[in-house]
């Protein structure tokens, strides 16, 4: 089992997008920086944009090899996309510890022993985001700018939808069935010209089709940028970006908030365990710190409220968060049907973690492709 003997060691972070993307990759990059800060002697080596569009011909193995040459002992591979390669490379480097983020091969038993999985329970933050959207929408039409379709993105989109329904019913007294919820997928976590749909275009089309809140599910900022452009034209529209705590800064006045990952504590936890030799292979799905979901030092996921929320909205949101924390509101509680009408869970039943993690389709009532 890989370990280290010194307090001074290097860890690698391999990013799928640009380190400064105001999204998923930047959240990881800053998580690494947080760990560097908290753990003197521990330094980060990072490599960004490792995807076949930005780096033609560069493989995960090459990057890992170079990081190892530079002295990295533990490497975070931070995209679902790296999962298969991480397994293969880890098998070739049994002395290096791998933390594969967002995958589940450690759980399913496919991964070698030096790979462990961790992911944040983003569905809670997404549900809060959905709630914020439902509180604000005038047209009763909410749209979701989706990345690619897999169980993770279906899960997050569904959570958003459920949060929106909850709040529309609880705080606006409306019939949740009259709420329109559309998902349009661009095909990847961010725009790759010629490969994915152009998210700018898609966001515009979502607004054109009548949505007035667009939530981003992709790693980059197109949703809020487009919404900002349209707001400048005098339209009543809002956006909810994703992934990165500072994402609202792009256009605060139309931002309803950001569900974000706070990777710092997770990185510190794994690096500490690694240093102390207590790191075991496993699959962790870290919940937010319900005492304060925005605590930088404890909560894995959070939700920043945006400037565009009214005082009343904020109060309602805080109430919703409290209900989630207390368990009064259970997100995936029945009756819930899948998009094709088959039952996911019946009346009074709450979906299991496995059911939620492996959600096979969108839910009934959502418009958009399920696979």
């Amino acid at each position: 089992k890989p370990t280290t003997t010194t307090d001074e060691f290097k860890f690698g972070v391999i990013l799928v997008g640009p380190y400064n993307d105001h999204g998923w990759s930047q959240a990881h990059y800053e998580g690494g920086q947080y760990a560097e800060e908290k753990m003197p002697g521990v330094t980060m080596i990072s490599f960004d944009k490792l995807n076949s569009a930005d780096r033609k011909g560069t493989t995960l193995e090459q990057v890992v090899e170079d990081m190892v040459v530079q002295g990295a002992k533990i490497i975070f591979t931070t995209s679902e996309d790296f999962q298969t390669d991480t397994d293969a490379v880890a098998a070739k480097y049994p002395d290096i510890q791998f933390v594969m983020i967002s995958g589940d091969h450690a759980k399913t038993g496919v991964a070698p022993a030096n790979v462990t999985n961790v992911m944040g329970r983003m569905e809670y933050a997404k549900a809060i985001a959905g709630c914020a959207a439902a509180l604000r929408t005038e047209t009763k039409s909410i749209a979701y700018l989706g990345p690619l379709i897999n169980s993770e993105t279906r899960r997050l989109t569904a959570a958003t939808y459920l949060g929106a329904r909850d709040c529309y019913e609880m705080y606006r007294g409306g019939d949740p069935d009259e709420l329109k919820f559309t998902v349009n997928w661009i095909g990847f976590w961010f725009n790759i010209p010629g490969v994915t749909l152009d998210p700018t275009q898609v966001a515009n089309d979502l607004f054109n089709q009548g949505a007035d809140v667009v939530l981003s599910g992709i790693d980059t900022t197109e949703a809020i940028v487009v919404a900002g452009q349209r707001a400048d034209k005098g339209e009543q529209v809002w956006a909810i970006p994703y992934d990165y705590v500072g994402a609202c800064d792009l256009k605060p006045e139309i931002c309803l908030g950001t569900p974000y990952f706070n990777w710092g504590p997770t990185y510190v936890k794994y690096l500490t365990a690694f240093k102390e030799g207590t790191l075991k292979q496993g699959f962790e799905w870290s919940a937010p710190d319900w005492n304060d979901i925005n605590n930088r030092d404890t909560s894995a996921v959070g939700f920043v409220m945006g400037d565009a929320l009214s005082e009343e909205d904020r109060a309602n949101l805080n109430d919703y968060i409290a209900k989630l924390a207390s368990g009064e509101v259970k997100l995936f509680s029945g009756p819930l049907n899948l998009q094709d009408g088959t039952e996911l869970v019946g009346e009074g039943v709450v979906a299991t973690d496995d059911q939620v993690w492996n959600l096979p389709q969108l839910l009934e009532g959502m418009t958009g492709a399920s696979e």
Partner: protein, 319 residues
């Protein structure tokens, strides 16, 4: 949502096609004078990056737009120098510049990736914007979009109504004949290649300051090639080239609108629609299809046919 879905969609097509209009019309001018600037896909990227960076650093949109135009003109100037003074293959120089400019935009643009920056302010034209349907479609945009109209009609005017345009066309059609009439062929070629390049640069600026705000890697990849193709599609006629730009804009929009209707088709496939359409139109444009049209549809042939300037790509030496 005061306006219907259709009006909204058409309006956003008009706005989002503006870069393609600039680039397409710019390249039309360049090709009309007899030079092919193949570097478009790279020079749009580089100028989009430079324009955004300059606007951000200086805080002035005007500086950004001018920088982008200068970059476009500079790249075009290299194509012109390479092919005129140094007598190298235009296509080769253009292709190399495509690769080089793309790499440059990634390298130099690194600090500006997805950084929020300035954008063109929305500027509805008083009174005109209030006309039903027409108003929201054409007159409810920003300055760059209006400038794209000016460029379209200005180019039509230049080609057909001015001495300069007449001479420009003569240079592109038959440089020897233009020379015989006292026109300094190569000076015209430098001038209008750079002017066309500046418009291409303006297209780049429009991308990063008006359409897809900001800069990211490969921000506009593929659009340069589309712009080159719509020049052929438009038969070297600025009006038709602009029409082509709007058509492709509409097609792009269609791809995302159609997605929910075809949930089984992977989304990645839709993105290809404009390129497939490009091939199709070129096949119709150039192939025997037009020749085979029945006699009655001669107007259609006339509408679709276009002849490349006869001197396109031909080097001219005065002795």
């Amino acid at each position: 949502m005061a306006n219907s879905l259709l009006v909204e969609t058409i309006a956003s097509v008009i706005a989002s096609a503006a870069p393609l209009v600039f680039a397409g019309v710019g390249e039309t001018i360049t090709e009309k004078v007899g030079i092919t600037n193949l570097s478009l896909d790279g020079s749009i990227l580089l100028s989009a990056m430079a324009g955004f960076a300059a606007a951000m650093l200086s805080g002035s949109l005007l500086v950004g737009v001018i920088t982008a135009m200068l970059v476009g003109a500079l790249v075009a100037g290299i194509v012109a120098t390479g092919s005129i003074a140094l007598r190298q293959d235009q296509v080769a120089v253009g292709f190399v510049l495509t690769v080089l400019c793309t790499a440059l935009s990634s390298f130099l643009g690194k600090p500006y990736v997805r950084v929020p920056g300035p954008s063109m302010p929305h500027l509805p034209i008083p009174y005109l914007a209030d006309i039903p349907v027409i108003g929201p479609i054409f007159f409810n945009h920003d300055l760059l979009v209006y400038l794209s109209y000016v460029v379209i009609f200005g180019t039509v005017f230049l080609f057909n109504r001015t001495q300069l345009g007449l001479r420009l066309r003569a240079v592109g059609e038959r440089p020897e004949a233009a020379f015989a009439r006292g026109i300094n062929v190569n000076r015209y070629r430098y001038l209008f290649t750079c002017l066309g390049g500046a418009l291409v640069g303006l297209g780049g600026a429009t991308f990063s300051l008006s359409v897809k705000l900001g800069w990211s890697y490969q921000h506009t990849a593929g659009f340069g090639w589309i712009a080159l193709a719509i020049v052929i599609f438009g038969g070297w006629n600025p009006l038709r080239v602009a029409l082509g730009a709007y058509l492709f804009g509409a097609l792009n929009s269609l791809a995302s609108i159609l997605q929910p209707a075809f949930p089984t088709v992977p989304t990645q496939v839709f993105q290809t629609a404009p390129f497939a359409f490009m091939i199709l139109t070129l096949l119709i444009m150039n192939g025997d299809v037009l020749e085979r049209l029945p006699r009655g549809s001669r107007w259609l042939r006339k509408l679709l046919q276009g002849q490349a300037p006869a001197g396109l790509g031909k080097r001219f030496q005065s002795d």
